[in-house]
């Protein structure tokens, strides 16, 4: 509990950001929370289970379009967000059954093309998605400031949910099983872990909140188009963030997301011409010198204190 309290305090402090009344800061905060959702989600499949998923953009775009289409049809906004979560989760479950038997690079490539396929489908299915012209969402009849606050708080709540999900998984039998799968999948199967089931659950968990983030994003910017929400970069950024902060830890992806956002913003502001190159070099250097991420700096030499830890943690999940 002593470790949960500071986190809750930080979230509460961040939630008070609108008091500063700066819409630029709020926009950054919303982006940061969205990045955190994506990095934390990727962490479940990529960090815990060790499956390098590039499917984040697919879940994000699917969520964005599900939310946008439903809202366009007159569905109440929060309900459309929930529906987007469910759509992404269902899609991930089916996709996971199809591609999670692949390993390493093969899995990465298979997950990467999913977003491309969805991009093509959305672009050609003009009657439903508006095709390449994109899709406009209903305008909210509240002030610009109120909108900024609403979406900031909604995204922050979603990020907190995703963080809680990570924490629960990490302390549950599921998280223990996923870490075993990452270390040695064959041996995991031999000691009786249902590897297929665990991997599919992890993949679903890596999708559900990203779908929600996509829908929130659509409502926030009022206009989406296929190349925007199915961008490959949307799949790559969460991986970089998680690695920056410390993949496979609970707080690492959040730290990585904030760090990434700050770097992106600073580099972009100061080196407009070459910002992509500068950011890339910075990230390569950081990952090269911090193989365990930022959190890896603090726990380099720390061994599990209690020898019966895995059993205790497995039991905590019952």
């Amino acid at each position: 509990m002593t470790r949960v309290l500071p986190v809750v305090l930080v979230i509460a402090l961040v939630a008070a950001l609108p008091l500063l009344g700066d819409n630029y800061l709020l926009r950054l905060g919303t982006m940061g929370a969205m990045y955190a959702v994506m990095a934390l989600s990727w962490n479940v499949i990529g960090g815990f289970a060790g499956y390098p998923s590039f499917a984040t953009a697919a879940f994000f775009g699917l969520g964005a379009y599900t939310g946008a289409i439903l809202q366009g049809a007159g569905v109440y906004m929060p309900l459309a967000w929930v529906a987007a979560c469910l759509a992404a989760a269902l899609f991930a479950g089916l996709l996971g059954l199809a591609i999670l038997h692949l390993k390493g690079h093969y899995f990465a490539i298979a997950s990467l093309v999913v977003a491309e396929v969805l991009l093509e489908i959305t672009t050609s299915w003009t009657s439903l998605t508006g095709g390449g012209m994109g899709l406009n969402l209903p305008i909210l009849r509240i002030s610009v400031d109120a909108q900024a606050r609403l979406f900031f708080w909604a995204m922050l709540a979603l990020a907190s949910l995703t963080l809680a999900m990570n924490w629960i998984v990490a302390n549950h039998r599921l998280g223990f099983g996923l870490r075993c799968i990452r270390q040695n999948e064959d041996a995991s199967g031999m000691v009786g872990i249902n590897t297929t089931l665990y991997k599919v659950i992890a993949f679903i968990l890596s999708a559900v909140f990203v779908g929600g983030a996509g829908a929130l994003y659509a409502s926030w910017v009022f206009y989406i188009e296929p190349p925007d929400v199915f961008a490959t970069l949307t799949s790559v950024k969460p991986i970089v963030m998680a690695l920056l902060g410390g993949a496979g830890t609970v707080l690492g992806p959040v730290i990585g997301a904030v760090l990434f956002l700050v770097m992106e913003e600073l580099v972009w502001r100061n080196l407009l011409e070459i910002h992509a190159a500068a950011l890339g070099i910075l990230i390569v250097i950081l990952i090269f010198f911090l193989p365990g991420g930022v959190l890896g700096l603090f726990k380099r030499r720390r061994k599990p204190a209690a020898p019966s830890r895995p059993l205790a943690s497995a039991e905590a999940g019952r």
Binding site: N184, A187, V191
Partner: protein, 239 residues
């Protein structure tokens, strides 16, 4: 001969389009040590993996203690009482030795006092593991890793322990030690099915043997008979 604990009949299996096992029949009597010998690519490992459920059979049956197991998942088969010690040990390298052993009892409730008893028993059997209980499994020597893998196998309280390549890459001294432990495990009531490259060692430990060749059983019988059979001597011992 006692009643068979495991009986495999007409088992066929493979990977994708490649069929490896072409109708394997095999019986393991309760309390016995049976070894499986054969050259590389004969299908020994595939047979073990098919019995333990990691590979799905395309035909045939695997009966274990009166129960049909063919087609069940690895978890169910382990629960029925068959544990596998895989080739190359396959430990969880960055987990401690103790945690690796506890993983063998994954299907039992952690609070079950029998888990602690079994852990003590394994540590007694392999004092080296007790000394290194807190170390990462990846830092163990080859022989110690094999002890850990066997220990993990018996942590699930199996009726049948299947070991893939007991001696591969190990020092002769380690092989001797492990063979003794295996006999001890067997005396305590666990039936053993063993794959072994070193045919002489295998036939020494086991009471019965099967020779596998290109996915079929070439011959079978008591170890002493197999060790004298000209086909075996010529093909695998070189004399």
């Amino acid at each position: 001969m006692a009643k068979p604990l495991l009986s495999v009949a007409g088992l066929e299996a493979g990977y994708g389009d490649i069929q490896v096992l072409w109708g394997v029949d095999l019986e393991v009597a309760e309390g016995d040590i049976v070894c499986l010998v054969g050259s590389n690519g004969a299908g020994k490992t595939t047979l073990l993996k098919t019995i333990s459920g990691l590979v799905k059979p395309s035909a045939g049956s695997v009966r274990f203690a009166g129960e049909e197991l063919a087609g069940s998942g690895p978890g169910a088969i382990l629960g029925a009482g068959i544990a596998q010690v895989p080739e190359g040990r396959r430990l969880f390298r960055t987990m401690s030795v103790r945690d690796n052993l506890l993983m063998g009892a994954y299907l039992r409730k952690p609070s079950d006092p029998s888990v602690g008893e079994d852990l003590d028993r394994v540590m007694q059997m392999f004092p080296r593991l007790a000394e290194r209980a807190r170390q990462d499994a990846g830092t163990l020597s080859g022989g110690e890793q094999q002890m850990c893998a066997i220990g993990r196998g018996i942590m699930s309280r199996p009726k049948l322990l299947m070991i893939d390549e007991l001696s591969l890459g190990l020092a002769p001294r380690a092989v001797e030690l492990l063979s003794e432990s295996l006999l001890e495990i067997n005396r305590a009531g666990t039936t053993v099915l063993l794959i072994e490259q070193d045919v002489l060692t295998a036939l020494e430990i086991a009471s019965r043997g099967y020779v596998l060749d290109r996915g079929r059983v070439l011959m079978s019988g008591p170890s002493a008979v197999l060790a004298e059979a000209p086909e075996v001597r010529e093909a695998y011992i070189g004399a």
